[in-house]
């Protein structure tokens, strides 16, 4: 059912592109007229996610300080891990959305007040996202985590994880790798169609996406091949 809906959706988009171009007319998805609304909407969502991250940090600290025993200890650990994961995800999405909002403002020349608000939101989101790994100490207080300022932070964190954690990471990363590959490929094809039918070249984006795809796959295949 899910596959059918996805196929229907993709078919619809391709069909729409073909139908739009069949009569020789062109179309443009102009974002300039709604640039203000887009930047306000994305900033608002970003602020909401920053708020959610803060709430999760407070909950994380509060729960971590509670003393429990027996099966409740497992429930507590599970809840701490979920709070940490949700906080990290919210702060990451918040950074991405605030960057998009800032990009819209920079490109479309919006008011200085909006620029300052969006820049402040982006800065706050980036700060929370940068600090988010340090809250892992509330989930695993017994572990000696490397500092987030450490140049080899990611490598050290991976090295100190055990086989169960690596198993979970592998499942997650493999799924996001395959989805990332497919989505980038679809995005490239979409940009090609858009460029052809709208006469607005998306060549730069297509080349960037192609380079990302090549680097991603080279990195993966070289790592696997050289073992």
């Amino acid at each position: 059912m899910k596959k059918f809906i996805v196929s229907l959706f993709i078919g619809g988009i391709v069909g729409w592109f073909i139908a739009s171009g069949a009569d020789g007319s062109s179309f443009t998805l102009s974002l300039y007229s709604i640039a203000f609304e887009i930047s306000v909407l994305f900033s608002a969502i970003s602020l909401l996610l920053i708020g959610m991250s803060f709430v999760n940090i407070v909950k994380l600290k509060s729960l971590a300080s509670k003393e429990v025993t027996g099966d409740e200890e497992d429930v507590k650990e599970d809840r701490l891990y979920k709070l940490f994961s949700d906080m990290t995800l919210a702060s990451t999405v918040s950074v991405i959305l605030s960057i998009v909002a800032f990009a819209v403002i920079a490109i479309t020349d919006q008011s200085i007040v909006l620029t300052i608000i969006v820049a402040a939101t982006a800065f706050a989101a980036a700060m929370i996202n940068y600090r988010s790994p340090s809250y892992m100490k509330y989930v695993h207080p017994e572990r000696d985590f490397p500092s987030v300022n450490d140049k080899e932070y990611a490598k050290k964190l991976f090295d100190m994880s055990d086989e169960g954690e690596r198993h979970i990471m592998l499942q997650g990363l493999y799924k996001s790798f395959t989805i990332g590959n497919a989505l980038l490929l679809f995005a490239m094809i979409g940009c090609v169609f858009y460029s052809v039918y709208s006469n607005e070249s998306q060549l730069f984006s297509i080349i960037v996406m192609a380079l990302i795809l090549i680097v991603m796959n080279m990195q993966y295949m070289l790592k696997v091949r050289n073992r």
Binding site: D71, D74, E77, D162, E163, G164, E165, H167, I168
Partner: protein, 67 residues
Amino acid sequence: MKTRLKELRARHGLNQTELAKLAKVSRQTISLLEREELIPSLLIAVRISKILQEPVDEIFIFEEGEL
């Protein structure tokens, strides 16, 4: 692979977090092992075997076709 880990852990009055600390692994690893979603390394299997005072093959049971 089948496992009696949950049953044996409960018999020793340990929760997942406590067993994880004793076996020097994360609670996620114990949870995955109990759900039979991960085959443990020899090191972890032996550590758990010592904690629960049971032979490895009494905790992690492989079927004939798997060996």
